[in-house]
């Protein structure tokens, strides 16, 4: 077991455990805080995959932005200790059927993934990924980049319009 393997399994267990808390916890506040560990573990996985810029982006945008927004949403809308899983017979049936279907899907896909001989090209790690990403954003993906900036502007204006208190 080399160091990379140990680190990968540590963060994989962290991600899966905290994502399971997100999916199964009855307390929505626990779910929101478990999401923090999931995002952090995913950022660590990005580092293992030589994506340093994306790891920083993940921490800044997901943990610093989206998670704070979600926690605000939880605190503004919910009684913290409510059962929010669908209850009653329909709810139990729904949970059971969904769980079985997703388990079957996951196991099938996992077996498929294990059996496929992926074409893996050996890669030498780049020194930094920031300058290639920046060059690519301003050449090949310029249109998508500009569209994304317009989209963010529209999203800001739209969110402010929608959330504004009506007179």
């Amino acid at each position: 077991m080399d160091l990379i393997t140990i680190i990968f399994y540590f963060f994989a267990v962290l991600i899966v455990a905290s994502a399971a808390i997100v999916a199964f916890s009855k307390n929505i506040m626990y779910s929101a805080f478990a999401l923090l560990f999931t995002f952090f573990g995913v950022a660590a996985i990005y580092v293992l995959l030589n994506a340093d810029f994306l790891a920083m982006t993940q921490i800044m945008i997901y943990i610093g932005g989206i998670l704070v927004l979600i926690i605000f949403g939880v605190m503004l809308t919910t009684r913290i200790t409510g059962v929010d899983i669908k209850s009653g017979l329909m709810g139990k049936m729904q949970i059971g059927i969904t769980g079985i279907a997703i388990a079957i899907l996951t196991i099938t896909m996992g077996v498929m993934y294990s059996n496929v001989k992926w074409f893996v090209r050996d890669s030498q790690p780049l020194n930094d990924t920031i300058s290639p990403i920046g060059r690519m954003l301003l050449t090949d993906y310029l249109l998508a980049f500009e569209a994304a900036s317009v989209l963010l502007l529209i999203a800001i204006i739209g969110a402010a319009m929608i959330a504004r208190r009506k007179k």
Binding site: D2, I4, T5, F8, A12, I15, V16, A19, V22, A23, I28, S31, A32, L35, F39, I45, Y46, L48, L49, N50, A51, F53, L54, T57, Q58, I61, G65, L69, I70, G73, V74, T77, T78, D84, K86, G91, T98, I102, L105, T106, G110, Y113, W118, V120, R121, D122, S123, P125, L126, P132, I133, D140, A148, A155, I156, G158, A159, M161, I162, A163
Partner: protein, 102 residues
Amino acid sequence: MGIGLTHYLILSLILFGLGMFAIITRKNAIMVLMGLELVLNSANINFIAFAKYGGMNIEGHVAAIFVIILAAAEAAVALAIVLNIYQNYKHVNVDEIDRMKE
């Protein structure tokens, strides 16, 4: 045997399954959003894993950046909608919200 592409794919697969489970079975709209974030994260892991094992192809990183941008915009708009729903209904249970006008 070291860590290969399959390990990352299976990790993201498990994350996807848990996210789908949260989206389908939860009643609270914000929990549905959290499940959505899990699914988007698993897609991002796939993008970057294929970017690395396809010969350090930087285009996967660019795609992941656009996913993160869309996730941020989606979270902002969705939470604004959820707050608006809460003002009208005093709860955010997605299975009881059945009219769009006030």
